[in-house]
Amino acid sequence: MINEQLVWAIFFIPLASFCLLALLVRPFFNSYSYISGPIAIVSIGISFILSLLTFFEVATNSNHNLVSEPNSWLEIGDFHFTVGILMDPLTAVMLVVVTGVSLMVQIYSMGYMKPSNHGSENAEHHGPEELGKPVYARYFAYMSLFTASMLGLVMAANVVQLFVFWELVGLCSYLLIGFWFHRPAAAAAAKKAFIVTRIGDFGFLIALMYLFFKTHNKGDNYLEISVINANLPGLVDAGLITAGALTLIALGMFVGAIGKSGQFPLHTWLPDAMEGPTPVSALIHAATMVTAGVFLVARFFPIFEHSPDVMLIVTIIGGVTAIFAATMGLVANDIKRVLAYSTVSQLGYMMLALGVGAYGPAIFHLFTHAFFKALLFLGSGSVNHATGTFDMRYMGGLRRKMPITYITFLIGSLSLAGIFPLAGFWSKDEILLNAWDKGDVASIIGFSLALIAVFMTAFYMFRALLLTFEGDFRGGSDKDPEAQAHGPVHLTESPFPMVLPLVILAIPAVIIGFLVNPIKDFGGIPAHWFTHKLEHSLHLPPPPAFDPILAIISSLIALLGILLAWAMYKRNPYLSPATMGRVAGPIYTLFLNKYYVDEVYEKFITGRIYYNGIALISDWIDRNIVDRTVNIIGWLGANFGSLIRELQTGQTQMYATVTSVGIIIIAAVYIFGM
């Protein structure tokens, strides 16, 4: 049914779509750029179908010989560099998530990115490029490249390949976040995303170099991920590598994951990344980019598992991020920012799960989260399409105008809040259960933080839902002083290409949880099918059994959050938000200002320490030592060059003389020199 060529095709078809759009359509056929949407969608659609087939092949066939040995790409002496596919359940799941969400997002984009929506009527806010269709081809070209890069990342069989695609994903997110590059905010956000994740990438790169440095003389090819995972812990046990080295490698990789997955303290780029087109946010937050960090930790799980110190750090960072981001989500006014903080928070859950050793549940949560988070983002885009703003203070009363958006958004919110029996409930419960079951201090701290975050999640999602869809309409972009760039107000349901993905995504947001990972045998599906498949080859201790009490407690907490949101934001609130704000004054301000982390980074670290400290020293060294050395060498080189040029007189006799003298000198060196 499926073979290695077809698996390669999953990656190459979107790449081909990018090449077609970027190298052919955009430069030469720009007036026909409306074909770029269908091209991109058809190619990602084929990839999606192939991914599904691959997924079922891997899932049903546990001795998956789907992919043969990696292909040798470059051999220099005993350095072998290969290119190949690492096909395991993790890869198969990621393929489905990436292609599935990307397909939905791109179909949605057909409606959302239509020139009439974001161009002609508000021309003065857009660059000349956006007046017509040109923007269309560029958009879909980037989207195809983004998807292809992420697919390359999850399929990579060796670390260099992985790193290349890791960087490509970063580049694409830069291009897409800054898609409306003529808007200063978008350009700044793109830059911020790139620089902040770069800090993480640096840690990852150092880890890779250190890994190579430590293992290049240990026999096997330690560039292969499978070799690293299988043999590196053994090397430590055999004493060939110190445990400290392994810890450093794992830590470096985790720094990379922190950057990409927007974990504390490198989370600052993610909320700003909302400046990109909304479908891009959906893609970044659900399937590509941010999941890459979680994927990385999962990919090298055996390494992390072997370094308990790092696992501890992962647990704490995960737990702290889960609650830290949730608190900021409580007070954000921009609907996309609420969703962004919720992503950061949910990624914290996944990290927490990985930290307590719950590999399967972490990926399970990544899987379910992808669907309802994509749904929510696309829903916020649909709302924006009608109101022209993202600021919830200027929305309201959209329930009757946009019924489908409302219902799907409600489903997404319930799923994210973790309400039984929606998808989010099952995966979140697994994570809480595993953290509780592990029982050591860090896990319990992580568990408690996550449990409080459950309450907050439920609260902020329903706050968003009520502010957006209930009450009276508060004017949209006409009232919002900052929102004119987003388009006009026309309160109707969004066009078909936008509604369709919402409806499709709502289905897995409801059923995917108990369908793929039921707690008891369910029809033909064995209990914990999904997590078992994932953990199949990892030899983990058996997972804890489903705990109804814990499930009820967490559900009750979530319901409490919803209740509080309802009490505060219904038509005639029992608790007015203003009162609450006054009561919680300083904390409210703290949350609203994102704990002043941005300020600390920009004013203190960048401003004080960097500009007024390190930069001055570097500047001095650069001017006086580096530049001088270079100038001296350059001066020597130039003068030496002129000296030889003197010989180049144009006279043939001279040339023949030089040849003869050259021969004599060589002979003399041989005769007298040795």
Binding site: L74, I76, G637, A638, I644, R645, A656, V669
Partner: protein, 489 residues
């Protein structure tokens, strides 16, 4: 001589026949437009024969000519270069008016000589092939009827004669020492001699003959100190011919050097006696070429110095060919990969130069100002080509350099690898200056350049090879590895 012998050199024969056909057609047909397409189509014949003879490696003509994977590899490269040069000459040659036939057929004849050179395994055959290569090139260099071109042709002729004389001296000495002109027999005699009496360097005749032969071929590959002719000749010659000289003639030169060194000397001799000479000449060539190139304002002259530097990089492979205990193949493999990649890269650059100088009328780097506005395609191709010449991924130039410098490190020539890398950085200065001129400087006059189909397709094909093999160097590396294995096998 029998039928099998004829088949053996069928590629060369068909190439020479093609040259004759072109002259005859030129004589009877007034439609000169036919000539280039005819030459290009005709190149398929030698190509097919190459593919054919590759399956039957053997020695013919009383042991003077050897067809093996090694020679066929170079024949591919030479045919490729010839094709690209003819393709980029299509409009350029119009200025030769009635003499277009001679132009194309001289290129083909020179290519015949180069192809024969890669197969020759006997000194006299080598010499004849070498002269067949050089004489048509001298004529081609002088083809434009103006002062510079004539000067270029004459200089090439004279200096080529000097180098031939040097080479002949070396050959005569070898013959006097060993009593044979066959490379393999020379190798046996030298091996016997060395087994009884120490090192090559102890024997004055042998030492001097090898130095002379190296000098003779050093001229071909334009290695310092035998490089003096290159800038003047390159500048004056017709632009496509400059490209031809820089690529094909260099490839043939390296082919015969590898052939002689590997056939005549054994590993210990190579490593103890010759590797260090090659290493020093390599380092000097790179540095001299790059340092002088920085100051050039004429793009052809700049690329002439660049080609000297490139010869230096390639010689890293010669220096690294002898390991301490076993033969190291990655050095020679690197040479072959580099030459193939250099063919693509440099001919892309020369195709663009041909198109631009056609438009501006001179060869100054300034005439590239604002090329990105005048012709984005040409500007992008030139940029990629420059990047490949520096050795930045994802181009074949990077892959080839990795290979060569890696080989140097493997054979304990780390210092040479460092010199090579430093030189690559230096070279970035003048290569990127061209890029800067094209993208940032504003042109004197704004008009679009529309390169004709020939030049355009030549540059596109060449640059596609540069990029494609930059991503997937494997096919070239495999071919090169087979070639080197048969050579030392």
């Amino acid at each position: 001589m029998n039928y099998a012998d004829i088949i053996l050199i069928a590629p060369e024969i068909s190439m020479a026949l093609l040259a004759s056909i072109i002259i005859i057609v030129d004589l009877f047909s007034s439609n000169k437009k036919l000539l280039a397409p005819l030459s290009l189509t005709g190149l398929l014949a030698p190509l097919c024969f190459c593919i054919m003879v590759r399956d039957n490696p053997s020695i013919g003509f009383n042991g003077t000519v050897k067809v093996d994977d090694f020679s066929v590899f170079f024949k591919y490269v030479i045919i490729l270069a010839t094709g690209l040069v003819i393709l980029s000459s299509t409009t350029y040659a119009k200025r030769f008016d009635k003499h277009q036939g001679e132009y194309y057929s001289l290129i083909l004849l020179s290519a015949t000589g180069m192809m024969l050179l890669t197969s020759a395994i006997e000194l006299i055959t080598i010499y004849i092939a070498l002269e067949l290569t050089a004489l048509p090139t001298a004529a081609l260099a002088a083809f434009i009827r103006e002062k510079k071109s004539a000067e270029s042709g004459v200089k090439f002729l004279i200096l080529s004669a000097v180098s031939s004389a040097v080479l002949l001296y070396g050959m005569v000495l070898i013959y006097g020492f060993t009593g044979t002109t066959y490379l393999s027999e020379i190798g046996t005699v030298i091996a016997n001699h060395l087994s009884t009496s120490g090192q090559v360097t102890d024997n004055g005749i042998l030492l001097f003959s090898v130095i002379l032969i190296t000098a003779g071929f050093g001229f071909k590959i334009s290695a310092v100190p035998f490089q003096m002719w290159a800038p003047d000749v390159y500048e004056g010659a017709p632009t496509p011919i400059t490209g031809f000289l820089s690529v094909a003639s260099k490839a043939a030169g390296f082919a015969i050097i590898l052939r002689i060194l590997y056939t005549v000397f054994e590993n210990e001799t190579l490593s103890s006696d010759w590797a260090s000479m090659m290493a020093v000449l390599s380092a000097i060539s790179m540095s001299v070429g790059n340092l002088i190139a920085i100051k050039q304002n004429n793009i052809k002259r700049m690329l002439a110095y660049s080609t000297i530097a490139q010869a230096g990089y390639i010689m890293v492979g010669l220096a690294a060919m002898a390991g301490n205990t076993t033969l190291n193949t990655s050095g020679p493999v690197g040479i072959l990969v580099y030459l193939a990649g250099y063919t693509f890269t440099n001919l892309a650059a020369f195709a663009v130069i041909t198109a631009v100088s056609e438009d501006s009328g001179d060869d100054s780097i300034d005439s590239f100002a604002g090329l990105i506005k005048k012709s984005p395609t040409l500007a992008v191709i030139m940029t990629v080509s420059m990047i490949s010449l520096i050795g930045i991924p994802p181009t074949i130039g990077f892959m080839a350099k990795i290979y060569l410098f890696g080989a140097a490190v493997e054979t304990n020539l780390t210092w040479l690898a460092i010199v090579g890398v430093v030189n690559s950085v230096v070279s970035a200065y003048y290569y990127l200056r061209v890029v800067k001129t094209m993208f940032i400087d504003s042109p004197d006059e704004k008009h679009e350049i529309h390169p004709n189909l020939g030049v355009l397709s030549a540059s596109v094909i060449a640059i596609s090879g540069t990029v494609f093999f930059g991503f997937f160097p494997k096919p070239i590396i495999e071919l090169a590895r087979d070639a080197i294995n048969t050579l030392i096998g």
